[in-house]
């Protein structure tokens, strides 16, 4: 009956009142069935910090057992303020710094990029509407990207370790980070400088992890229990209606019933791995900053589409790297960000955020259109498909009026999303099929995501060849 708001409040209660070795264990004071802590230690520390402040303001907010389901106007203000402050401290500076460090862009472009990224509706609605602290982990990941793009590899790995230790979902981003750094070491030669760098990075990562997990290192059982809580495989292939391949397929085939959970796990692992492979190999062999960002997108998207136990909110992990390339491919990025917000519609409706959803989405679309004039950037070149199109045009001549096709596809998709949003918000579903609209939403979004996955992979794979060609011509 309660949601993430109560979960976060409950974690404050638990972390403040119980000794650290009981946080992740089911005890008489800590019923794990009731919103038990299932995020890594940094989240727990953050909860503890918030709880200390809450204690100063009103001890009732975190009273053990007594505060369950506590809700009041001042408490709401307090909780919202904690999200906002976390946002101000981690995410917003990261976005602004990132945009300041963009190369070869005018001030106006930097400002509009920052504006678009900060106005991304999905993150605003989930963090400040639905209530979660995604901006912290995403912010740390962004700091990681920022440091890596300035060649501060060690700081970057520390920032990313913090991100993983705040939310285990950040593992979606881990492969590109790993492959990029590994590729960089290879490039320097695995016997000389590269090896030194590799060892440095490895030591840093281990140290960062150790720091985060220090209080749990008293006994092995503690660590194992935390890991069990983090990766709860007994929760099933997917929850609710999520816009990934498994949920969409189960409209036709009831996968959950046919296949055993163990096979589901293996199947999803295999699919995820296969879809990741090309991007990762490419990145390891030719590590470039641009490739790194695209790989972040495509890997996160692969995870979202194919992996086990995905939440609809995990799409934010894909959106963050897409935000990072919004100045390079404004049209596709805007499109993707709109779809990603749309894919969370059932959740947003449940939270009564319809008005906010409409408002922020339209505002985002307006800002993107006004600052990037996205409708004029639909040619193959603008979509970074030049080299791909050169190789494919010969075979499919009817694709010549490409920009027009893309533009009309975009309009069709926007209209479809708008109509579906309106229908889900206003009409009652037929009694036999109460989940009709959420399923529609997830299937439509899933189809979009599949196409986007193909697109991002194409850009990534063909791009490296293109850049090599450029180097040759230079």
């Amino acid at each position: 009956m309660y949601g993430d708001y109560e979960a976060q409040r409950h974690w404050q209660e638990v972390t403040y009142n119980l000794p650290i070795n009981q946080w992740y264990f089911n005890t008489s004071d800590n019923n794990l069935q009731y919103w038990g802590l299932d995020y890594p230690p940094l989240t727990a520390y953050h909860s503890l910090l918030c709880a200390c402040i809450a204690k100063l303001i009103n001890p009732d907010w975190i009273g053990l057992h007594t505060s369950r389901g506590y809700e009041s106007q001042p408490h709401k203000l307090f909780m919202r303020a904690t999200v906002f402050i976390a946002d101000l401290l981690v995410y917003i500076p990261a976005v602004i710094m990132y945009c300041c460090y963009l190369k070869e862009t005018s001030t106006k472009k930097k400002v509009s990029t920052a504006l678009c990224v900060l106005l991304y509706p999905g993150l605003i609605l989930i963090d400040h509407g639905h209530f979660q602290y995604n901006s912290v982990s995403l912010g740390f990941a962004l700091w990681g990207v920022l440091f890596l793009s300035n060649n501060w590899d060690l700081l970057g790995s520390v920032a990313f370790c913090l991100a993983i230790n705040y939310k285990q979902m950040e593992l979606y981003h881990s492969l590109p980070f790993f492959c990029y750094l590994l590729g960089k070491c290879f490039k320097r030669g695995l016997t000389g400088k590269g090896l030194v760098l590799l060892i440095k990075i490895a030591v840093t990562v281990v140290a960062a992890f150790a720091m985060c997990w220090l209080p749990f290192c008293t006994e092995a059982e503690q660590i194992l229990q935390v890991l069990r809580r983090l990766f709860a495989i007994d929760r099933g292939l997917f929850e609710d209606k999520v816009a990934n391949i498994w949920c969409s397929l189960s409209v036709l085939i009831k996968i959950k019933n046919i296949i055993s959970p163990q096979t589901q796990l293996k199947l999803s692992f295999a699919f995820t791995f296969l879809s990741l492979l090309p991007a990762c190999i490419k990145l390891t062999l030719q590590p470039s900053l641009r490739g790194f960002k695209f790989a972040l997108v495509s890997c996160a998207l692969s995870f979202f589409l194919f992996s086990f136990q995905v939440h609809e909110k995990s799409v934010l992990l894909v959106s963050l790297p897409v935000c990072l390339i919004i100045n390079e491919i404004p049209f596709m990025a805007t499109w993707f960000l709109l779809v990603s917000t749309f894919s969370m519609l059932p959740l947003l409706l449940k939270d009564g955020l319809l008005l906010a959803y409409i408002g922020t989405t339209l505002a985002f679309l307006t800002v993107c259109t006004a600052s990037f004039s996205i409708f004029e950037k639909t040619s193959a070149e603008d979509l970074q498909l030049k080299s791909f199109s050169l190789s494919i045009w010969g075979y499919i001549p009817w694709l010549k009026p490409f920009p027009k096709i893309v533009k009309s596809l975009f309009l069709v998709s926007i209209t479809l999303m708008g109509v579906l949003s309106l229908i889900s918000a206003t009409l009652n579903p037929p009694q036999k099929l109460p989940d009709l609209f959420p399923i529609f939403v997830s299937v439509v979004s899933c189809l979009h995501f599949l196409i986007f996955l193909m697109y991002f992979n194409i850009v990534l794979l063909w791009d490296s060849r293109n850049s090599r060609n450029q180097k040759k011509t230079n």
């Binding site: 106007q73 709401k76 203000l77 008005l355 307006t366 006004a370």
Partner: protein, 561 residues
């Protein structure tokens, strides 16, 4: 295209004294040619104006679920009254304490709205449903404000076209037009008063700005008609009516000046004054006619001008009377302490001040409505004289209008703190033109907006108001500074010090004070402090503007000579 313009232009050109035309022309914001050019660039540069307008409208939509004041119930009640009762009873109905006290046009406006409202929630149209606020009602009322703001947006667009494009820089963000559009559309005061507190100021200010723009475009009759209509929507705008009256008489009815810029009665156009009179009479007849026929005019007027209310609103608007009250209070406290005064006599007026409607002065003489009227008229007169004897085209008119608004805010009877918007919005037009006005604008806007803070006293709105205020203030400072980069600093150190001190004041009022033990003993202290502190700034801005207008007209005259 514009017969009035053509007529005005050709007369001085053909006359033996073309000098006056030249003397007046540079003062004008717009001239036909650049007007068109500006309009063209405004439409073509990436469509920034629609984006700005749409952006702010979406922000307004996000404010729909926020706190709304009793004004929400006031307007709901008016919807119900105008929907259910015949016209003859509109100004007699008194089921709710919030009786209809706006002029007839506004009542008709509510009547029209009520016919849409019934599709949202018919329950809100029941007169007895006091304090009814279902979700559909809130949605309807909020959306009605947002949608009627379209008029405001249009008016802002027209105003932007009046701004000269002389200073056009390479960067869009440094164009006066763009800055003006943001300052008007995203005005913090208007946002919180209309879309959080709840009122319909948006489209009313739209009417005013549109009429100002029409005067700038020399479509005088249109401007006059718009203002007449506005007066019958909300009579508070009568404060700026002197500026309109004098300007139209001086610069429209008198078609020519003498060589030294003084009056030339022979050029008085009876046709023009008849037209003006006809417009005003027609509009008034349309509005008041039915009530005159019904013989209800006295009742209507008693509703429109309720002098039974106190000198100051519950929260003192930051004007002269706030200072007066504060001095009275201080004298009373000192008097009692040093035994000059007899505490027995003063018990009635004990330290409840600021919370009661009827305020008794203890030391200083009490102020009557008539006295405030005299003060207001006296304070308005110099600006009006200035407009009459030293006309400087539409620009002078705008200055006079702002001075009228500010003077009446300073000395008026039962002034609301919201009335400061009447000066802030027109001053935005001047601020993007000259560095001097920009500095003034920054002082007046920041103080005026800060004085609106007590309107929103609920906890969830605290971050909203502070962040919105910061957003607007930071933008206005940075944009005006880049606009007048070459003119040196806009504010002197004293002014900066004064404005910076608003920050600790706010921290004290909102955070420190509620936690301190004084909260129970002296609950009115934050309001009193805010009011008095802001009154200082607004008085200063008023005096500074007055001095600048009066001295400036002298120098202009010298130039002409």
């Amino acid at each position: 295209m514009r017969p009035a313009t053509a007529a005005f232009r050709t007369v001085p050109a053909g006359s033996p004294l073309p000098v006056c035309a030249c003397a007046v022309a540079p003062q004008r914001f717009c001239q036909g040619g650049c007007d068109m050019a500006v309009a063209a660039t405004g439409g073509g540069s990436g469509g920034w104006f629609p984006a700005l307008a749409l952006g702010v409208s979406l922000l307004k939509c996000l404010l729909i679920p926020t706190y709304h004041s009793t004004d929400f119930e006031v307007h709901r009640n008016w919807l119900a009254i105008t929907h259910n009762l015949p016209v003859s009873q509109w100004y007699y109905e008194a089921t709710s304490e919030w009786t209809l006290d706006y002029p007839p046009f506004f009542a008709w406006f509510e009547c029209a709205l009520s016919h849409i409202a019934k599709y949202f929630d018919p329950e809100m149209l029941v007169i007895q449903n006091l304090n009814y606020a279902s979700y559909a009602t809130v949605l309807f009322q909020r959306l009605s404000v947002i949608l009627t703001d379209t008029l405001f947006i249009y008016a802002v667009r027209e105003c932007c076209r009046c701004v000269s494009g002389k200073r056009i820089g390479k960067d869009l963000l440094e164009k006066p037009m763009f800055v003006l559009a943001v300052l008007l559309l995203w005005n913090f005061g208007l946002l919180i008063v209309d879309h959080i507190h709840f009122q319909y100021n948006g489209f009313l200010f739209g009417l005013m700005l549109l009429s100002v723009a029409r005067l700038f475009q020399e479509r005088h009759l249109e401007g006059a008609a718009l203002f007449a209509v506005l007066l019958h929507f909300k009579h508070i705008y009568i404060y700026v009516a002197p500026a309109y009256g004098v300007y139209l008489l001086r610069s429209y009815c008198l078609t020519e000046n003498k060589a030294d810029g003084s009056l030339k009665w022979s050029s008085f156009s009876f046709l023009r004054i008849t037209l003006l009179g006809l417009i005003v009479c027609l509009v008034s007849a349309l509005s008041l006619g039915p009530f005159i026929v019904l013989g209800q005019l006295p009742q209507l007027i008693s509703r429109l001008f309720p002098f039974k209310r106190g000198l100051c609103h519950a929260y003192w608007a930051p004007n002269f009377w706030a200072l007066y009250n504060a001095v009275d209070k201080a004298l009373a406290v000192i008097g009692v302490k040093y035994k000059f005064l007899d505490p027995e006599k003063m018990q009635k007026a004990a330290m409840t001040g600021g919370l009661v409607q009827e305020f008794q002065h203890t030391v200083l003489p009490s102020v009557t409505p008539f006295a405030t009227l005299i003060c207001t008229v006296v304070s308005i007169l110099p600006s009006v004289f200035c407009l009459w004897f030293k006309p400087q085209g539409p620009r002078g008119f705008l200055q006079c209008l702002i001075l009228c608004a500010l003077s009446s805010f300073m000395f008026g009877w039962h002034v609301h703190e919201k009335a400061i918007l009447l000066a802030i919005l027109p001053l935005s037009l001047l601020s993007v033109q000259r560095a001097k006005d920009a500095g003034l604008y920054l002082i007046l806007t920041t103080t005026g907006h800060f004085s609106l803070f007590p309107l929103l006293f609920t906890a969830p709105e605290l971050p909203i108001k502070i962040l919105l205020m910061l957003l607007f203030t930071v933008y206005s400072f940075s944009s005006l500074r880049t606009l007048f980069r070459k003119n040196g600093p806009l504010l002197n150190w004293l002014e900066i010090l004064y404005l910076t001190a608003l920050v600790p004041l706010e921290i004290f009022c909102e955070i420190v004070f509620p936690l301190s033990p004084w909260k129970l003993k002296l609950p009115f202290i934050p309001l009193l402090l805010t009011s008095v502190y802001c009154a200082l700034g607004i008085t200063y801005a008023w005096l500074k503007l007055y001095v600048s207008v009066l001295t400036e007209s002298a120098t202009v005259r010298q130039k002409v000579e």
